[in-house]
């Protein structure tokens, strides 16, 4: 992946997140540059999903600010933990629906352009879904649905990809391949990835920065910048 340029894609300053009366994190500061893979780790309930939703702009922070500097039309794409797929549609339609932001309503009323179809098929093939493209999404396994949600988000070409436990239901091989694909795609288009992960081994293989959240003491988060994965 490429070195971060001077102007980061995401800047977080003195961020504080609270759910009901409990602070999840306080005084959080970090910046993510283009080409970076930023990993979030922490126990369940430590605030990883809440932080991702705040970065996505879905919820407002209680303290501090999040600044997104993106030159592309779609600054942020998010892979949700509950996947949020259209279960009654075919897997291919779900994958293609990620590209809707680039097309007008009329041009996608009866289908998608051929080049979008080719990209979707290619990505689905890479993630082992090529034989499932015509199948109803509801009939796919949890792992297949998770890979499909990743394909949909990648087809959207976001400059910042926020992924909430994107490989939680995948076995080790698929998890490895999937994270590599996410990292390569985002790096290729000078974007970045913010990814919450449970498995610390996966973090070691991919991250440029690791943010460890502390459930007990919200102000004692730790940020570890690593250089070994940066070419």
């Amino acid at each position: 992946m490429k070195d971060s340029p001077e102007s980061p894609l995401i800047e977080v300053e003195d961020l504080g997140l609270r759910v009901e009366n409990r602070w999840l994190v306080r005084k959080l500061n970090f910046a993510i540059g283009a080409g970076e893979f930023f990993a979030l780790v922490g126990n369940s309930g430590s605030g990883k999903s809440t932080l991702l939703k705040t970065l996505a702009g879905i919820r407002k922070p209680e303290e501090g600010s999040v600044r997104v500097n993106s030159p592309t039309t779609l600054p942020i794409g998010m892979i949700f933990q509950d996947l949020q797929l259209a279960d009654g549609a075919s897997a291919l339609k779900n994958a293609l629906s990620g590209s809707l932001g680039r097309h007008s309503f009329l041009s996608t009323l009866f289908g998608f352009p051929k080049y979008e179809l080719e990209e979707a098929n290619k990505l689905m093939h890479t993630l082992g879904l090529s034989g499932k493209s015509k199948q109803w999404t509801s009939t796919l396994s949890r792992g297949e649905r998770q890979r499909l949600a990743i394909v949909r988000s990648l087809i959207a070409h976001p400059s910042i990809l926020l992924a909430d436990e994107p490989v939680a239901s995948l076995d080790q091989d698929w998890a490895e391949q999937t994270l590599q694909l996410i990292k390569d795609r985002q790096g290729h288009q000078n974007g970045c990835v913010v990814c919450s992960l449970h498995d610390l081994d996966q973090v070691e293989d991919h991250d440029n920065q690791v943010l460890q959240l502390n459930e007990e003491e919200p102000e004692k988060w730790s940020l570890i910048a690593q250089e070994r994965n940066t070419p």
């Binding site: 998010m78 949020q84 279960d87 009654g88 996608t108 509801s138 009939t139």
Partner: protein, 284 residues
Amino acid sequence: MEPHCPRKKYTLKTENPQIAWHSRFDLQGITFFLFIILTFSSLPALEGSGRDLDYWGNIKRFAGQFFPPDWSILNQTVGGIWETIQIAALSTGFATIISIVLSFGAARTISPLWIVMPTRMLLNVIRTIPSLLWAILAVVLVGSNSLAGVIALSFYSTGYLAKFFSEAFESADLKGQEALLNLGAGRIQAFQYGLWPNLRPIIWSHCLWMLEYNVRSASIIGYVGAGGIGLHLKLYAESADSWNKFSMVLLCMLLIVSILDLIGEKVRKSIREKLEGQASQKDS
């Protein structure tokens, strides 16, 4: 070494409090009690004409006239049934289109309350009027023909379909739609690719059920002149010695309704299985 504990004798005391007699009379109990009273108080309705009739003999003679069915009227019967199916198909089609529009207005998750309330009220009124009454009104308006049948069943079906569709809209999972909005899709695009695929199988299942129902209804509304096989039934029932023709019509109707039931059930089962697949995958 385990500490020595002196053994004590315990007697298990079981409490058996008496259940208060009035505690059985919750809403379910009261309605059941009222139903029993109503049933027994309705017994005088079994009195009949009061004449000393040979019921068993009547049934045997009447049933005997049904057999064998008169196959000579097969062509007219098939023509009448085809008209019945046309009435059912057209009215289901029209009702589906009108219902999709009305269901947007009747769904709390889509429209504001000031649109929801009058739309639901309108649908309640439509449902209150039985199909036969709609048929009489339509015959008065456009005369005795199959158009009257289409109008009558379109209104009748709209009352039900719009209610079913609005319930489907209200219970639909909106997250697929929201995810696409987050990925930059327009509102209509997000509906088309994020929500509609989840609604489509449920709506299609309701439409199939309505089509089956309308084939049965279209057979009856002919009795009041709204076209279809019902008119044939009326003619045979009113003319003497035509019960074998009547039974021929019933036989054809039984066949058609059974085939439709079979196809409808097969399609609905396939939809159900796919939707259940969806549920089990989410749990895994």
